[in-house]
């Protein structure tokens, strides 16, 4: 009878150990590792301005050079361009920004081929919007798109020096 108690105790301990072992061996744990790589974007714009020269009313003039936008080698994502602009203002008058049209093209487009107007609100490049042969909605790393501008002077505007500021926004494509 004296031997029963230690024997049963030993069996219970053995059983509990088995339970514990079974619990550990049957459980599958997974650890998720997440590594976020920082987003680098560097964009070069050159030249820093466009001068259309002296224009006549109702004239439709294309810039003599393109504005080259480069997603530099310091970037690690492709980028999408979004453009917006302020109205052209002089000391006494204003010309709506929609009279400025833009096209992404390797060569100077014909004046009649400009379709998309600039707006005060942000307007994103797509595969069709602002696409004159180049897609400014996906500018690869270390590559350049050439942006050409065409300006129409509406009738009834006073003589003067007009200027506008165009903002080029670059968003990483992830």
């Amino acid at each position: 009878m004296n031997m029963k108690i230690p024997a049963v105790f030993g069996m219970v301990v053995l059983g509990l150990s088995g339970l514990l072992f079974a619990q550990y061996t049957s459980q599958t744990d997974s650890v998720t590792f997440v590594a976020e790589v920082a987003q680098f974007i560097e964009v070069q714009v050159t030249p820093p301005s466009i001068n259309f020269g002296t224009l006549n009313p109702l004239a439709n003039t294309t810039s003599t050079t393109s504005v080259d936008v480069t997603n530099t080698a310091n970037s690690n994502v492709d980028i999408k361009l979004t453009l917006s602009g302020s109205n052209f203002t002089s000391a006494t008058d204003e010309i709506d920004i929609t009279n400025l049209r833009m096209s992404a093209s390797a060569a100077a487009p014909a004046a009649g081929s400009f379709i998309e107007s600039m707006t005060n609100a942000e307007k994103a490049c797509t595969s069709t919007v602002f696409n004159g042969g180049q897609d400014c909605s996906d500018v690869l790393i270390d590559s350049t798109v050439n942006l050409w501008f065409n300006f129409f002077v509406p009738g009834g505007k006073k003589a003067g020096t007009y200027s506008s500021t165009i903002n080029i926004k670059s968003d990483g494509i992830i």
């Binding site: 009878m1 031997m3 029963k4 024997a7 049963v8 030993g10 069996m11 219970v12 053995l14 059983g15 088995g18 339970l19 079974a22 619990q23 049957s26 976020e36 920082a38 987003q39 680098f40 974007i41 560097e42 964009v43 070069q44 714009v45 050159t46 030249p47 820093p48 301005s49 466009i50 001068n51 259309f52 504005v67 480069t70 530099t72 080698a73 310091n74 970037s75 690690n76 602009g85 052209f88 400025l100 501008f149 300006f151 007009y162 200027s163 506008s164 500021t165 165009i166 903002n167 080029i168 926004k169 670059s170 968003d171």
Partner: protein, 263 residues
Amino acid sequence: MDRFFLSFVFITLLSAAVFAQEAAPKLSFGTIQPDRGATTYPGSTLKFDVYFFIDEAYGTRAAHITISPALVPQDWLVSVDPPLNDVTLNISGVVVSGSENLNVDPRPLLSAVPETSESGIYYIASPSGKGYLQAKKATIQVEIPDNAEIGKTFDLSMTGTAKYYGSAGAVLFTQSRGFSYQITVIAPTYSEQVITQPAANESALNTTEGSEGNKSSSVTVSQNTVISQGGFSTEQVLIIVVVAVVAVLAVTKLPGMMGSGKN
């Protein structure tokens, strides 16, 4: 011979001067966004660092940068360090005034991080592998209100705009970049509660392939109550049975064996 040499030097210097003058200014704007989101608690404060740089290979003009909120959830407070400051600049003899959070000058890529680092400059390896960018840091601080909805992911967006001085023309250019973050608000302490129990019909689970979905329970982190599902796995039940059989055998047979051993 001397006259020829002097002419050559003069022409070379003149060409260099003309080239330097003709080189078109380049506007560059470099940004580094290390974080795209975070998980946090109501009433907490988050900080997101953003870095700005101009590699002088791509930019020749200083960028004057403002950082402003574009999309901020209601009642959330956002601030930027360094804060917006009014500045007056002399640009080629013309005095201009403006506001900026910070300005960044064109700097070269460095082949190695200098032993003595410059105050306020962070040396960050370029993805190009060609060296180290010299960047300045701004910190976006976000204060989450106490009543922010738990379990919801909020979108927060900031815009960094680079302005350049010294150009004249009908159309001038600025550059901008969006910094978007997804911020998930959770309860300060972890908790788990089963909202829906899995279907109890074990045989249905075994025979119907499509019923696998029933095994998953919907869990929400909303209260501090933990309801345990309990129960043993098949392996555990087998071990319990084995242990029980051994124990019964031990109780019934072992004393006799022990006793015979004694004798």
